[in-house]
């Protein structure tokens, strides 16, 4: 390339126009495409959540009708679980960063990668259509026989949307697994892989093996609802609890699709900002695989009061305690990584500190629910709502934001305001705790979830929760503001603004379309901060 080119070519400016985006096979652009759709879903899900929290500020049902309320929390769950949490880290950050991190030009199947985005969008459009036409009111769990026979809302349309979006997840998982096996740069051995890549690999296994089960389950639901075949409805000779087994056989592992990739992000960011190798690299790597495998064996802990035998409940309780151990191991290793580091307080690691606090509470309260004797009382109360929001929002979304801040300069070539990002992390952390901590207390007091109208003694805690949610909303809005602002006004980031190791930081920001001018050759581990001077860009 001649030096007369004034503007350096990168993946963003190499071509312009809508068609250049909609027909792109560049993993980096596809990551951005996912970011746009997921951001829309997050906004929608957030609006639904806001309406729910407004309704719950008073014990009476005075803001919306009961049916509207039921549709609101259902659509909040559907939008957030299937269109935000599952794709957020793998499809946005994974797509953008993973091929760069292993020194590849792209994923193994670039066209399939674009196809998965289209499949995802089609699924989202079906679900949106269901929402626009009046929504769905079954809860995101679609429990039968309510969903298959009794609900008069748009169950089928939503189901089709989720069904289709599932294939996007399968294709992404497949693509990533093959990419990680086949596309690593010379010298990039398995134990030199960044831990984010390990986490994506473990996630890919769950996506490939688990997602077909939810597809089958939704199909059976559709067959019963549409054609009247008895599968789940006892009036037709079916078994409603069978649905729960099938649903959670996917949806519990799906929790690990949501949390494993953010865990990978945490490892990257902690290593970078404490200038150290991740403590116990191989233990962190294998704990991801352990979580992926054990994650398939705990589904019936959602059914402890659903009439399963007490002995099988006992086994599932045991396995649920067992799956907590690899997460504990990760947490201890991250903590130990900070020990004697040189910790550079920049926005990404502040989000990680937030993650650690919230994920810790989320994980530890999981032990309450794994305990049979406590779960009988806590099941289907606000304790469960608080627990999984600590994992999914406190864990997965905080981790996503840590990663988004970490790779944002690489994605856009621009720096955001560090002080704004610090303020946002603080707002989100405080707002989150104020929203969800009171819900643990509400749960132990016995307030059931999915209640439109509630007993007046629960009001004070609910008002606290709604107040927290508004702080949380301000925090998220602030993130959107300064990140968008940085696109116009942000300073140029340079190739390596965080002075990180890792191949993605060796190419320009934003990266050139083919990622690397020449294929990098790797001759050391992922986090060798201590071995050399880290070059400033």
């Amino acid at each position: 390339m001649t030096t007369t080119v004034l503007r350096r070519v990168n993946y963003l400016n190499v071509k312009y126009g809508v068609a250049s985006w909609l027909l792109t096979k560049d993993h980096k652009r596809i990551g951005i495409l996912y970011l746009i759709v997921v951001a829309i879903a997050f906004l929608l899900g957030g609006i639904f959540a806001a309406a729910v929290r407004i309704e719950l500020t008073t014990p009476q049902g005075d803001f919306v009708s009961a049916d509207t309320y039921n549709a609101l929390f259902t659509m909040h769950g559907v939008a957030m679980v299937f269109f935000v949490l599952i794709p957020a880290v793998p499809a946005i950050l994974g797509n953008f960063a993973m091929p760069l991190m292993i020194g590849a030009k792209d994923v193994a199947f670039p066209k399939i990668n674009l196809l998965s985005w289209y499949v995802f969008v089609i699924g989202f459009v079906f679900t949106l259509a269901a929402m626009v036409l009046g929504g769905v009111d079954t809860g995101w769990t679609f429990y039968t026989p309510y969903s298959s026979v009794y609900s008069s809302s748009h169950v089928l349309l939503t189901g089709i949307g989720v069904f289709i979006a599932g294939f996007s997840s399968i294709l992404t998982g497949l693509n990533f697994a093959v990419t990680i096996h086949r596309m690593r740069a010379p010298g990039m051995t398995w134990f030199r892989l960044p831990l984010f890549v390990w986490a994506l690999y473990a996630t890919a296994l769950v996506q490939i093996l688990g997602t077909p089960v939810i597809a089958i389950t939704i199909l059976m639901l559709a067959v019963e609802r549409g054609l009247g075949f008895g599968i789940f409805d006892p009036r037709l000779g079916g078994d409603p609890v069978l649905f729960q087994h099938l649903f959670w056989f996917y949806s519990h592992p799906a929790v690990y699709i949501m949390i494993l990739p953010p865990m990978g992000v945490i490892s990257e960011v902690i290593a970078c900002f404490s200038r150290k190798s991740v403590f116990g690299y191989s233990f962190v790597a294998f704990s991801s695989l352990a979580i992926a495998v054990f994650g398939f064996l705990v589904w019936a802990h959602h059914l402890f009061v659903a009439g399963i035998s007490p002995y099988s409940a006992m086994i599932f309780s045991f396995l649920s305690f067992a799956v907590a151990i690899p997460s504990a191991v990760k947490t201890f290793n991250w903590t130990a990584t900070l020990y004697r580091g040189a910790i550079w307080w920049r926005a990404p690691i502040l989000w990680v500190f937030g993650f650690l606090g919230l994920f810790l509470i989320g994980g530890l309260t999981g032990l309450f629910l794994a305990s049979l004797g406590l779960d009988v009382h806590l099941h289907d109360t606000y304790f469960v709502v608080a627990h999984f929001h600590y994992i999914m929002v406190g864990g997965a979304i905080m981790g996503f934001f840590a990663g988004l801040h970490y790779w944002w300069p690489k994605m856009t070539g621009k720096m955001f305001s560090n002080s704004m990002a610090t303020l946002a992390a603080l707002l989100v952390f405080v707002g989150f705790n104020l929203t969800f901590f009171p819900q643990f207390i509400l749960g132990y007091l016995g307030m059931p979830r999915r209640y439109h109208v509630y007993s007046p003694e629960f009001q004070v805690l609910n008002v606290l929760s709604s107040a927290g949610a508004s702080i949380l909303g301000v925090g998220y809005t602030l993130v959107a503001c300064y990140l968008l602002h940085s696109l116009w006004k942000g300073e140029a980031a340079g190739a390596n603004p965080w002075r990180a190791t890792g191949l993605e930081w060796k190419t320009e920001s934003p990266p050139i379309p083919e990622n690397f001018a020449e294929t990098p050759i790797v001759n050391e581990g992922a986090y060798e901060y201590s071995k050399r001077e880290v070059k400033v860009a």
Binding site: A66, N70, D137, T138, Y143, P145, Y146, V149, Y150, S151, D233, P234, R235, P240, V241, K276, S277, G280, F283, V305, A306, G307, S317, F321, A322, F332, N333, L338, G341, A342, I343, W344, W345, R346, L356, L360, I361, L364, F368, A370, S371, L374, V376, H379, D380, T381, Y444, L445, P448, R449, R450, Y451, V453, S455, E457, V460, R499, Y529, S530, V536
Partner: protein
């Protein structure tokens, strides 16, 4: 201000302190681990802060003893919680034999309770103080869940199955009763109260009812024509039911089945499923002819049959057909 916020639910059953003690223990253990990590992260983040961003950390890569330690110690702690909670759980699910039985059905959006002596009530459950009570229930439509927070008990009501909860109330007065499994529009209105009464008051309250459940069951047994085949002397086209409850029955396929609530319900609604050996598959289904409460009454009647002849308790009830009307309310024609 703070005094207005409840932080802890009332303990109103013998189970509640058992559950709460476990809860305090798990809270203490998890708080310890949470604090440990939070304190360490805070100390490290401050102590090793580098404002320049240019230093590098110490070359520490890991420690096998530490890894083993923080794998095994949490595992053992988890196993202690597992063992304790499992013991509490088996206590929660195993009702004592002498427990007083009350039947219930959940349907959108109400709970109906049926006492053996004949009292029935909606969204209210009267129980005696200090005596073990077992509530056996099912659902007429979608999933529900019978939840009494003050007693720390809950179980899902599942159409086509019987579930149960049991408790011994320790506090007289009224307690919340909630539906905990989402069931549609008025899920949050499917609530009621448990009224715990002194045993004497409870007895007085019970006597306000009409026919006992087994008497209603006997009426149904005659009205539905069960009596024409299930002769007590065993000479009918169907097997005699006298004294069968709680025994083992041999089926046509050679297996045996325990004659319990579930088997009786199944035999009424899907009679061909588990045919008793030596009998022809002649019995029609009674699905749609008898509702869940009727089935429960029939079960009570069959339970009350001694191994020979008619039960003494129900002989006077046979003629009072009028009184059985509520139990005979036709089952829903279907949800759609």
């Amino acid at each position: 201000m703070l005094s207005g916020i409840p932080l802890f639910p009332e303990q109103a059953s013998t189970l509640a302190p058992k559950v709460d003690n476990l809860y305090f223990f798990v809270t203490a253990v998890t708080a310890f681990f949470a604090l440990l990590v939070v304190v360490l992260v805070t100390i490290f983040a401050i102590k090793y802060r580098d404002r320049t961003g240019e230093k590098v950390g110490s070359p520490i890569h890991g420690s096998i003893p530490l890894e083993i330690g923080w794998t095994i110690i949490p595992f053992f702690v988890a196993m202690v919680i597992f063992a304790w909670s499992t013991i509490v759980f088996f206590h929660i699910v195993r009702a004592p034999d002498q427990a007083l039985e009350i039947y219930s059905t959940g349907k959108r959006w109400m709970w109906r309770f049926q006492h053996l002596e004949g009292q029935s009530e909606i969204n209210e459950l009267h129980v005696p103080l200090g005596l073990p009570v077992k509530v056996v229930f099912t659902s007429e439509d979608v999933l529900h869940s019978l939840y009494i927070p003050a007693f720390r008990v809950k179980a899902d009501a599942i159409p086509g199955r019987y579930s149960s909860i049991w408790f011994t109330p320790t506090k007289a007065g009224e307690h919340h009763l909630f539906c905990a499994e989402y069931c549609g529009t008025k899920h949050s209105g499917m609530i009621g109260k448990v009224v715990v009464m002194e045993p004497n008051d409870y007895q007085a309250w019970l006597s306000g009812g009409d026919l006992s459940m087994s008497a209603r069951g006997e009426q149904l047994f005659q009205q539905l024509g069960c009596v024409s085949c299930h002769l007590n002397n065993g000479s009918g086209r169907g097997p005699s039911l006298a004294g069968k409850y709680g025994t083992q029955e041999t089926l046509a396929n050679g297996t045996t089945v325990a004659v319990d609530d579930r088997y009786i319900r199944e035999s009424i609604l899907t009679p061909q499923m588990k045919l008793v050996v030596g009998y022809q598959p002649l019995m029609p289904t009674f699905q749609g002819l008898v509702n869940e409460e009727g089935v429960m009454s029939l079960i009570e009647y069959i339970k009350s049959l001694p191994s020979t002849g008619r039960p003494a308790a129900t002989t006077q009830a046979g003629a009072a057909v009028q009184g059985a009307a509520p139990a005979l309310a036709p089952a829903d024609g279907g949800p759609r």
